[in-house]
Amino acid sequence: MAAQSHGVTQDTAVSTGRVTRALIYLLLLLFALFYLLPLYVMGINSVKPLAEITGGNMMALPEVWTLEPWRSAWSTAQIGVEPTGLKPYFLNSILMVAPAVAISTIVGALNGYVLTKWRFRGDTWVFGLMLFSCFIPFQIVLIPMAVVLGTLGLAGSVPGLILVHVVYGIGFTTLYFRNYYAAFPTELVRAAQIDGAGFFQIFWRILLPVSGPIAVVSVIWQFTNIWNDFLFGASFGGTSQPMTVALNNLVQSSTGVKEYNVHFAGAILAALPTLFVYIVAGRYFVRGLMAGSVKG
């Protein structure tokens, strides 16, 4: 047929495509279900009475629905020796994460601005050393950090934790912003200089307004890392321990009955903020990560 010989109808191509596509979707669906399984288990067991779990029905839907485990995890569960629930620790985490993310992101942006638009002798060395800090494992800095915090009188406090996380995060945030600003035309900075704008005016009026995507990357990265950090929190938290440490104390407590339903509720509570950040800003994350990573 003329139509077929011209390649217009492409009957076979379409039908093959449909089958393949169906297979692909089926596979993706299976994977998605598999990945969601833990969340499902946590979710349904957190709204079950303990008896149903210990009865051996981990996968089944609850026979009696209850929010009591959530209430308990939030406000009454035994954390260490105090029956406070996770609430005060959740607040500790918020008080630590918000300033730590904000400060490390702003400092990273400033560093990136200086390292790309106000080049100085040895700037690549400075950047290289900051990059190096990204590869230092947490454990190595524990003792020096303890000494520094002790000297500054910040040991065992929220400001101390903020300092630790800012110092540790600057390497990453600087890397992001430097690579992002490297692609930003220097002619714009020169034009602004001729227009009479100063160092901070150029930063504030010219660069920051176009830094949205990379700022999102920096915030997500920092938020996730700081919120999920356990080691620094456990080492330097003192009386103001973050959520992760409290969750550990809740789950690992070795006396009395193991309240699995409360543990599940607590674990979800601990994961909620990062989940929220990813859902809200996730699609900017990939975009910004790409934008920042192309130029090096």
């Binding site: 020169r190 034009a191 602004a192 200089q193 001729i194 227009d195 009479g196 704008a197 009026r205």
Partner: protein, 368 residues
């Protein structure tokens, strides 16, 4: 004392010297074009005038005030960048008044200046748009508007037309020239395009490898280039450079060259200040070699030259004809309908009044 004085200015990066003692005095209202190939130092010189690059040696003075070490914003200059450098997050209006705002000019005054310039450049309807929503030509206008609004002493243009397509470039060129005629501002303009340099400037500085090769009016640069370099850089197609020997026949100086067949040909020289017997490089512009009907009637010295045609290239308005002279390709510019064909002999008319002679060793001009 000139309006903009560049006195013995040098620039080095470490041990590498990129500008060698440049001396240019620009009068008020002049349109100076710095032209040269990439890497010749023209943009560096412009950036030094702007204050974006430090000055290694010498002085730059604007209106009698030495500005070495003065911050760019305090030199009362404005610059139009090749990429236009419009702030992407601001509207056109905000872009244009940003400089005034930074200099603390009150809002009513800014708005008045903006309205005046926007009207002059016919961009009043674009003021609320973002640069991303503008075409290339509109961005170019906004970039010029941003410079104009500040009413600076000196305008600096860094290859402002090279991002535009060919047709728009020609239009904007005329636009810039009109603007200069109307406002009579002092302009320093960097380009690598010799046609822009010829058409726009009141004076041209041809630069190469950090040296100013020649500084002069477009006519001086074109008719009496200081060196073979300037001669071949300015003009398109480039000036023909033909090896020749000066000889005396019947008491008159002639240039002896070889034609396509290697036969000697004599061209009577209009210039009398050449020593007989010496070798020269004879420079003849393509338009000085034509068909006899197209020859310049005001010239006092048209020499006939019969030569073999290698290639003809009809370009619409003219026909370019390639031949061999002195062992090198030479190009003649003929009228469009001159009957000339490749492989045949043709009687060319050479306007020797327009010829220049260079020293073969130093490649500098020795006559006229």
């Amino acid at each position: 004392m000139a309006f903009l004085d560049i006195r013995n200015v040098t620039k080095s990066y470490g041990t590498v010297q990129v500008l060698h003692s440049v001396d240019i005095a620009v009068q008020e209202g002049e349109f100076l074009v710095l032209v040269g190939p990439s890497g010749c130092g023209k943009s560096t010189l412009l950036n030094m005038i702007a204050g974006l690059e430090g000055i290694t040696g010498g002085e730059i003075a604007i209106k009698g005030r030495v500005v070495n070490g003065v911050h760019p914003s305090k030199r009362n200059i404005a610059m139009v960048f090749q990429s236009y450098a419009l702030y992407p997050n601001m509207t056109v209006g905000q872009n244009m008044t940003f400089g005034l705002e930074m200099h603390g000019v009150p809002k009513p005054e800014r708005d008045r200046a903006l309205a005046d310039v926007a009207k002059l450049l016919q961009i009043d309807h674009l003021l609320d748009r973002k640069p991303g929503q503008l075409s290339g030509g509109q961005r170019q206008r906004v970039a010029m508007g941003r410079a104009l609004v500040r009413n600076p002493d000196v305008f600096l243009f860094d290859e402002p037309l090279s991002n535009l397509d060919a047709k728009l470039r020609v239009d904007m060129r005329t636009e810039i020239k009109k603007l200069h005629q109307k406002l009579k501002t002092t302009i320093v303009y960097v380009t690598h395009d010799q046609i822009e340099a010829m058409t726009l400037s009141t004076r041209i500085a041809v630069m190469n490898k950090g040296h100013v090769q020649q500084l002069g009016t477009p006519k001086e640069i074109y008719d009496t280039p200081a060196s073979v370099y300037v001669a071949t850089f300015m003009g398109s197609p480039a000036m023909n450079i033909i090896p020749a020997r000066v000889e005396v026949h019947h008491g008159v100086l002639h240039a002896r060259i070889t034609d396509s067949e290697g036969r000697p040909q004599l061209l009577r020289l209009s210039q009398g200040n050449l020593a007989a017997g010496r070798d020269i490089l004879l420079g003849i512009r393509p338009e000085a070699i034509t068909d006899p009907e197209g020859a310049d009637r005001t010239s006092r010295n048209i020499v006939s030259l019969r030569n073999r045609v290698t290639v003809t290239e009809p370009a619409g308005a003219d026909t370019f004809v390639t031949m061999t002279l002195g062992g090198r390709d030479a190009i003649a510019r003929m009228r469009a309908d001159a009957s000339v064909a490749a492989g045949q002999d043709f009687d060319f008319a050479v306007n020797m009044d327009k010829a220049v002679a260079f020293d073969p060793a130093t490649e500098t001009r020795i006559a006229p």
